[in-house]
């Protein structure tokens, strides 16, 4: 019996069959609802003549073709944008994970002057409407000579992602018992070793979320990049995609095709990181 059949056989025999069926039903309905607009985007990408809408609801339109995808890879600097975005997002992800895991740990584990203030301070940075911060941020980057360079946007993106990541890490560390470090210290670890050898690996699910979030921040950001990057050879994906768009004459086919392709790396990274997000092994084995 192939393994999936075996699994299926197992399910049928479980007592909770009814609950399982309900679970599947709910998941299927929900996944369909989640997917429908995405499928619409696919339809736009294969529809001829740049039409955003259609009066027909068919998923595969008349005269469908993949020529937008071919155009994207052959005649447009799409791969360059992918590459640029990958570099920026990678650096932001590494920075985000490194800084958030340490800062979150400090807040979760230690009592010190300014702890509450720094936590609130992080939150307050998110409260100001972002569009208003653009002008002064731009003036500042000019003064620092960071216009038209990745360093500028990497710093800004890291700062954008950090508040959430730090809070998130802090919340997760909170669920890990202090006794673990205490026993590590007794075994001869110093404070730093106790953190990165014991606690850091245990926080894997939160690290995954921090990484994903940092990545997405950089991968999809448009407004700051549009102001800072002026050389088209430095363009990141959102800037590149925007080139297909213009007032009333957007190249919808290309835009839709590119949008779908842009979401693939996010999904791939998610799949790769998923084993740490859902394993459930990490804590169960040491807790309780």
């Amino acid at each position: 019996m192939p393994s999936w059949q075996f699994k299926l056989y197992n399910i049928m025999n479980r007592k909770k069959t009814f609950a399982d069926i309900l679970t599947y039903l709910f998941l299927i309905i929900f996944t369909l609802a989640a997917l429908y607009p995405v499928i619409n985007v696919f339809t736009i990408s294969v529809r001829p003549n740049d039409r955003l809408l259609s009066t027909s609801l068919s998923i595969i339109p008349e005269n469908a073709s993949f020529k937008q995808y071919i155009e994207l890879f052959t005649n447009r600097p799409f791969l360059l944008w992918v590459w640029n975005s990958t570099i920026v997002s990678f650096v932001v992800t590494v920075t985000g994970v490194a800084l958030a895991s340490t800062a979150g740990y400090a807040i979760s584990r230690f009592k010190f002057v300014g702890k509450q203030a720094s936590m609130l301070g992080l939150l307050t940075t998110q409260m100001f409407p972002a569009t208003m911060l653009l002008l002064p941020m731009y003036i500042m980057l000019i003064k620092l000579g960071l216009i038209n360079s990745y360093l500028g946007i990497i710093i800004v993106y890291s700062a954008t992602a950090l508040p959430f990541c730090v809070w998130q890490m802090k919340g997760y560390y909170d669920t890990i018992p202090m006794s673990l470090e205490e026993s590590a210290r007794i075994d001869g670890c110093n404070r730093w070793q106790a953190f990165y050898k014991i606690i850091f690996p245990l926080a894997a699910p939160a690290l995954v979320i921090t990484a994903l979030f940092s990545f997405m921040t950089a991968w999809s950001e448009y407004i700051v990049a549009a102001q800072v990057l002026q050389d088209t050879s430095l363009y990141t994906l959102p800037l590149g995609l925007k080139l297909f768009q213009s007032n009333l004459t957007t190249e919808w086919g290309l835009y839709a095709a590119a949008s779908l392709i842009v979401s693939i790396p996010v999904v791939v990274i998610f799949i790769l990181l998923s084993r740490w997000l859902v394993s459930g092994l990490t804590l169960g084995s040491v807790k309780g």
Binding site: K7, I11, Y24, T31, L35, Y36, P37, V38, N40, I44, N49, R51, L53, T55, L57, A98, L99, T102, A103, A106, F110, F112, Q116, L120, G121, L123, T124, T125, M127, F128, P129, T131, L134, Y138, I155, A159, W167, Q168, G171, Y172, D174, I176, R191, A206, I209, A226, L241, K242, S246, L248, T249, A256, S259, V262, V266, V267, L277, S279, G284, K287
Partner: protein
Amino acid sequence: MRPEEKNILQRQIDEYMKLHPGIKIIQLYKETEEMRSGYIVAAIGGQGPDLIYGPSDQVGPFADMEIIKPLENVFSKEYLSHFNEKALITYKGHLWQLADKLGNHLTLVYNKNLVPVPPKTDKELIEIGKKLTVDKNHDGRIDQYGLVWNYTEPYFFIPFLTGFGGWVLDSTNTPTLNTPAMINALKFIGNLRDKYKIIPGEADYDIADVLFKEGKAGMIINGDWSWSSYGNAGINYGISVLPIITETGKYATPMVAPKGYSININVGGGKLGQIKDLLEFLMSPEKQLETAVEVKTFPSRKELYSDPKLANDEIFINSKNQIDHGVALPIVTEMRAIWDAMRPAYQAVLGGVITPEKAARQMQDEAIKKIKEMREDYEDPVGRTIVYAIFLLAIIAILFFTRKSIIAFFKNFMRDRFAYYLLLPAMLIMLAVIMYPFVYNLILSVSNMNLEHINDWSIVGFYQYVKVFSEPQFYTFFVKTIIWTVSNIIFHVVLGVTLALLINRKLPGSGIFRTLLILPWAIPQYIVALTWRGMFNYEYGAINLILVKYLSMSPVEWLKSPVEAFMAVIITNIWLGFPFMMIIALGALQSIPKELYEAADIDGAKWYHKLKSITIPLIKPVMIPAITLGVIWTFNNINVVWLVSNAGEPSDKTHILVSFVYKAAFNLYRYGYAAAFSVVIFLILLSFGLTFLKRTKATESIY
């Protein structure tokens, strides 16, 4: 600018660079509104591109702000005499922009297979329209319309206003919107829809465009940018001058917007010569002709109008006819206020909420009010002193109240240094990025920075705050923002946690669901938000179709009525946001030791007991920060509202606070006011954050 236009411009620039090695020219394309706001920011910062290209109505604001150079001393009188006078954009006695194209003019585009001879008058238009608007398969739905166009947008309404003898402003830049012409024009559009029934009940740009491209509309009113796309879609189209309105005997006259170049104020003397040389190359008769022939734009050089390559072209002839029956788009900054004032009242008439008479009055009053706010010239030395005094007091107070902490910090630094080292990098980066912009905005919020004071603004006290709180709409939008935020967060969290729990049961295939369910988060927001807008369309959208076909409900006017439009925006954002909460919850669930559930099973606990006493308390530490930030982000989320409701439609009723400040303040360059408004939003969120965190004890550890 259409892609073809971008390409040909790039080609010509490349040619120029080949002729002049050593000169490098970069063409940087941005969408009109975005280019303008980006350019303003850059030019105020002392940077920006040397040349800026775009429709003529940007000249007003740019000249008011003094961020472009007058051109009359750059080009000779003789040189300028070769141009169509509509292409020389003057304002306040100076020449600011030199156009290479005339365009953006609306014309009547007709499908030759359906309309053999285009209508000359509104009577003929209605006759033809009635014949073409039919329900072919007798299912009670119209399958083909006589006329379609983006009639909810004021720019597309202008030809009828002028046709009835009206106009938007007089020579002193005072609005002239409350006139019999306006009322008649409003009634006329209403009649086309309700009395003669030759246009669809709901039509924005994309719907109109698609109906014509699919051959389901006989005629469309659209601009020169769209023509070639109809040919590409296989429509045998012709263009014709917009019809005469019989009642007045006047042509329906569209606006004509020249497009051309202005020079950045920051360009130094030496570079000016080079720029002039480049412009003369790009605007030479050969280059203009090349562009006109290839991408069907209308050149600004008069000598080209008789060139056989153009003069025998049917499209060119009709385009020229329409331009001759066109009126120049006003370039004064007041025009922005007029558009903003027209839109809500106009859409309210179409929605049947107010009468044309009332709408005309409302437009006029709003326009006058907005212009007054935009041009405000306010100074207040007393207010300035008060601000300085409060600032001083605040610093003293902060030092006084934190004195113990400051002393404790130095005393305990050695003991706590490990924590500080861990925290330092993150804090440094945050401070570096946020501090300056934040303080800058605080200062702006007590200043008078606006169109009149872009570079010479001064501190005026709390005037802008008074304005914020005396804006009657502030309170309506505040309530809407609360509804928006609360409903989004509730759905995000409930859906996210439920889905996470289900996926976490690790049934076969849950990995597939998990991956598919994050797609709404992974895909770029812009296009899916617009896709959702399409799904909400009354006649062709998927949502109404499901409601009618499968749930036998009556269709909902999602985008036309304020309540439903707001619901549509919320639904879209729920869809966009639930995967994020799902991922967070999934991570949080991993921190729960399985032994706890096993112990509960032994005690015979039901699932809801386990949920209540194990799951929820244990995922709380991770969920609370996510929820707090979720609230803050949703409160300030401008994108989805903007895209799905098309900037607040209908009638500016679907705004939340941020989108309102963006439209009311940014659009009219009221930077001081916008800053004060933002500080108010900040304070609202700050008080929320403090209360919420205190309530949930999120800053404290659970173990």
